[in-house]
Assembly symmetry: C2
Homo-oligomer: 267 residues x 2
C-alpha cells in the first residue's frame, strides 16, 4: 500500500483535520485494472461537483492525476482519493479560505473482485438512509449509515445489502448502485434525496443510452425490485455485477452485465 | 493546545482510520471551566451509549478520565474526546474485533464563551437535517449537515442557526439544543429521528424536573418556536444561552438561563 498526503509519502493526518472531526470531505474510489485509472475524467468531474456543492476550493486536476499515477505506478490496483476541507479552528464554521487536505492511497487489486463474475447474493438491510437533498448524490465522508448496514451481515451467504430510505424507496446497495429490469427495460433509483451518484452508474446509463434503450430514473419501491426479472449492481471496482439471488430466491443473470463489461474493457 | 492519541502526545492519525474514512466514530465536547471537567459522568455515559449502538467495544472510563486530566492539567479549557472504530481493511464492513482510536484534545477556553451572557441572535437555516433513528441522539462524526448549516451565515449579526428536519420539525441549533417556553412551560424537541441528545440538555431537563416543572419533549414546529415567549440554547460550553432575537425580532431573556447557570456552578 502506498499513501500520499498532500503529495508526500506519509501515514499521518492531523487529528484536527475536518475530515476526521466532521466527515467534512469527499472521496473517490478509482479502479486501476490494467495500470491505467478507469473513467478518471468522470471521477474528477464528480469530485469537482462535490467540491462546488460543499464550498471547497477546486482541486487541481493535473495534481490529482499525477498523484494517482505515482501511487498506482502502473500496477493493477485500486486507488482511493480523499479531499477534506483541511484543518481549522474549533467549530463547524468552515475556514475561509479553506486549505484542503489531499490523500491518495493505492491498494492491491482485491481478490474478492474475481468473485463478481459469479453473481451477487443480495438481501434487504434494516438500516435505512436518511434523506437530505443538500448531500444527495455526493460521495462525501459521512458514511455511518453504510457502516451500520454493512454490519448487519457477516455470514458468507450474502454479498451485498439493499438500502431503502424512510419512505420505503429503494436507493442502492451499501457500496454499489442498483439497476432493475422492469417490463423489459432497465431502471435505476432516483438519487435526488439520498444515495451516491456512482461513476459506474453513469457509465451503465451512458452505455444503455448509446444502445437506444435509456435507463429510466425511478422512485423505485421494493415491489419494483421484487418484480424485476433481473437486477445488477454497479461500482467502480466491479463494473456491473449481476444479482444471482434476492433474499435466497434465485435470479437469472442478465447478459447485459457481460456485455457492459466488454464495452467497458474496450472504452 | 495539547493532543493525546491513544494516550501519547501526538499530532498524527492514520489516514486509513475509519473516523476519517467514514466518520465511523463518536465525540464529546467537555467544558473544563475551573480546572475540573463538568458533567463528566454524563459525557461518558453518552459516549458509552454511542459505543453500544455503533457496536464499538466499550472504552475504559478510568483511562478517559486520566487522559482528560492530563490534557487539561487543571487549567480552564475545553476538551474534545473522539473515539473512532480505528483502522481496518478497505470497505464499510466493521473490523471484528475493532481496535478503537482515542483522541483527547484540550483548547484554551474560547473568548466567545463570554459573549453568551448577552443573548443569542438566532435565525432559521435552510439546510435541513436528514432523519435516521439508527443515528438519532448520538454525537457521531457525521456532521456535514451542521457544517453546511453553519456555512450559511458569516455576518457577525447571527450567533446561531436553527435547523429543521424535512417534515418541518425544529430539532436544534447547529451546535446547541433548543428549549422554547410555550404556554408558560419549557419544551424541547424530541430527538428520536435526528439531532444530538446534549449533555447540557439533559442537565437543563433534570434541573427543571427538580423544580417540579418537567420539560416536555415535543414534535416542535416552527409555529411553536415563533409563538414561544422565550427561547434558550444549551450546550456543554455555554450552559444555557438565552435567545435575545429570532430573525431580528427581539425576545426577552428569561431568568431561567441565569438561574440554571447558578445551579450548574453549584452542582
Amino acid at each position: 500500500m502506498r499513501v500520499l498526503v498532500d503529495g508526500r509519502e506519509s501515514r499521518s493526518i492531523d487529528p484536527l483535520d475536518r475530515g476526521l472531526q466532521y466527515g467534512d470531505g469527499l472521496f473517490e474510489t478509482i479502479a486501476v485494472p490494467g495500470g491505467r485509472p478507469r473513467l478518471l475524467d468522470w471521477h474528477l468531474e464528480r469530485l469537482a461537483e462535490g467540491e462546488r456543492r460543499l464550498g471547497f476550493p477546486a482541486s487541481d486536476g493535473d495534481t490529482l492525476r499525477r498523484e494517482i499515477d505515482i501511487v498506482s505506478s502502473g500496477s493493477r490496483c485500486i486507488v482511493k482519493l480523499i479531499v477534506t476541507r483541511g484543518s481549522g479552528e474549533r467549530g463547524y464554521r468552515p475556514p475561509r479560505p479553506a486549505r484542503p487536505t489531499r490523500i491518495v492511497v493505492a491498494w492491491d487489486w482485491p481478490a474478492t473482485a474475481a468473485a463478481a463474475a459469479t453473481g451477487a447474493r443480495v438481501g434487504w438491510c434494516r438500516t435505512h438512509l436518511g434523506r437530505n437533498p443538500a448531500l444527495a448524490g455526493l460521495k462525501h465522508l459521512n458514511r455511518l449509515e453504510q457502516v451500520l448496514a454493512r454490519a448487519e451481515w457477516d455470514d458468507g451467504v450474502m454479498d451485498e445489502g439493499l438500502m431503502c430510505d424512510d419512505r420505503g424507496h429503494v436507493i442502492a446497495a451499501t457500496q454499489a448502485n442498483l439497476f432493475a429490469k422492469v417490463g423489459g427495460r432497465w431502471a435505476t433509483p432516483r438519487l435526488d434525496e439520498c444515495g451516491v451518484a456512482g461513476v459506474m452508474r453513469r457509465a451503465f446509463c451512458a452505455w444503455q443510452a448509446g444502445r437506444g434503450a435509456p435507463v429510466e430514473e425511478l422512485a423505485m419501491t421494493r415491489a419494483h425490485v421484487e418484480a424485476a426479472t433481473a437486477l445488477l449492481l454497479t461500482n467502480a471496482l466491479a463494473g456491473a455485477w449481476p444479482v444471482s439471488a434476492l433474499e435466497g430466491r434465485p435470479l437469472a443473470l442478465d447478459p447485459a452485465a457481460d456485455e457492459f463489461q466488454a464495452w467497458l474493457a474496450r472504452a
